[in-house]
Amino acid sequence: MTLAIGGVVLYLALGVIGFLVRPQWICGVLAILAGSVSLALWAPGFPEEALGGGGWGIPVAGDPWALGMWALALVVHGAVLLHERARPGAFHPVLTLLVGSCLAAVVSGDLFNLYVTLELVSLLSFILVGYEGQPRAVWAGLQYLILATVGMTLYLLGVGLVYGKLGTLSLSAIAALGRGLSDPAVAIGAGLLVAGAAIKGGVFLFGLWLPPAHGYAPTGVSVVLSAVVVKTGVVALARLAAAFPVGPILVAIGILTGFGGLVYALWERDLKVFLAFSTVSQLGYILIGLGLGGQALLGAILYAVAHGLFKGLLFLAAGQAIEETGEREIASLVGRLSWPTALGLAVGTWAIAGLPPLAGFAAKGALTADLSPMARAVLGALSVGTAALCARLIPLLRPGPKGTASPGGVTVLIVSLVGFGLWGFLRLPGLLAPGKWAEAVGEALGGYGLYLLLRRVRPPLPRITLDRATVLALLGATALVAGILLLG
């Protein structure tokens, strides 16, 4: 535990020192080194211990979630550092602090400590979303902060209710009490906690701040937000699911976010907002796996890491494309990408479609390995939809003129995607079965067919405004609390 905490403290300290030294990115490099050393020393995990000792300490655990998220965060930070190294000012120090607080959030096993780290993550991402000062990005950031604060207010109320009834903030102690949700106060508290984490996590109908914030943020920030920051909300949900029996609720939210994000992404014209809606949809896989538990839980962790890698790559390539051409709409980018950018986009698309041999295939294989036919059908439908989204990107893959972007960040992420895929073949059973490959290809072809069918349709989707998003978040929270009360 000391090693992990030392890594976090060093990461945050280097972030602060970064404000003082030139060039600013150097502290980012040192922080990644420190984080990697710390991870290498504490891997493959450590049992839960109380930081500060005794009954009052903050429980810290190095479970598979922490392991996966640490590895993901360090790789993604490295890629972003390579891409954004020329950016001056406070960018790199704030980014280092942001990644450091994500590292802290995922090892925490305490309700209130989670609250503090999640708020820290929100604040720092908020600074970075509006970093370039474009009014659209600033407005997206403000929406993000308002909705995140709504979520965290609900979360704080939940903390109060649960602490008042159970007398502890430690999630493992709550799980050990095994009181379930029979007490209405605890059930309402658990509902508020889950709702708060869902709003923070950007789940569909709860956290509709996500698409504009991820879409309009600067390139490197979008990458970190979609790859790592969203996952802190997911880890919070995973911790809550371990303490309270809320699995069925998470499956329901997962299905909602999977298909809701899909519908919006299918008709979104802005490339980065499109990718952001796809992130909302991809959360569905993770939450369904999380809610089902058992073998699927490992699949959910692997999918969270894989999604971080390929969505990070897609956002990086998309950001490069937008920086190179000055265009944001998918239609006007066709044939204008330089070849490293097009390659990044192609590999990312291949991986997110779940085609072998990349990370998406391995993670999806682990997720669906041990599921009921019903759950498998839902995930299959989601995969077909995801493939239809990928089909929208195919016209972009034809490289155009020579570009100026450096391919460093894209290379790092491509190598990690391939490495993750190979690791999957070595360590996960059953991935080499021809049936799995046929299924993956079939889903991709089905998705392409769906895309051809829907290409001419243009349904009038309701616009998402701040007021609507707030009302939806609160209504969603109410429905969730009601659902958990019924469950208990």
Binding site: F112, Y115, V116, E119, L120, S122, L123, F126, I127, G130, G133, P135, R136, V138, W139, G141, L142, L145, I146, T149, V150, T153, L156, L157, V159, G160, L161, Y163, G164, L169, T465, L466, D467, T470, V471, L474
Partner: protein, 109 residues
């Protein structure tokens, strides 16, 4: 019990303001009232009948639960930071878009 009810009323009032008002500053005020309600709720949770505040040196007898008070301190600092940062963004938006009206800010530009 009364404090709990007041806290929940504050949260409701704050969220109502957040949804109904069109001016961003009003929205942020509403949000802060709601956050204040959540903080008051934690303080109310710490209450024990007949207890005095959890301060060393106030003499014998039962004390209020000190843990929620410690949480409240942290939460207040976080809300302060959030509000300050959001107001900075409102300043930026006011300078660039000359408006604090949500409907105007939401027009694509």
């Amino acid at each position: 019990m009364a404090a709990c009810a007041l806290a929940i009323a504050l949260v409701g009032l704050g969220f109502w303001t957040l949804i109904r008002r069109r001016n961003v500053i009003w929205k942020l005020l509403g949000l802060n009232v709601a956050a204040g309600g959540a903080i008051l709720f934690l303080v109310a949770i710490a209450h024990r009948p007949g207890a005095h505040p959890a301060i060393v040196g106030l003499g014998p007898g039962p004390t209020a639960d000190p843990l929620p008070h410690a949480l409240v301190l942290t939460a207040i600092v976080i809300h302060f930071a959030t509000l300050a940062l959001s107001l900075v963004y409102v300043i930026v938006l006011t300078e660039r878009r000359h408006s604090q009206d949500v409907h105007k800010l939401e027009e694509d530009r």
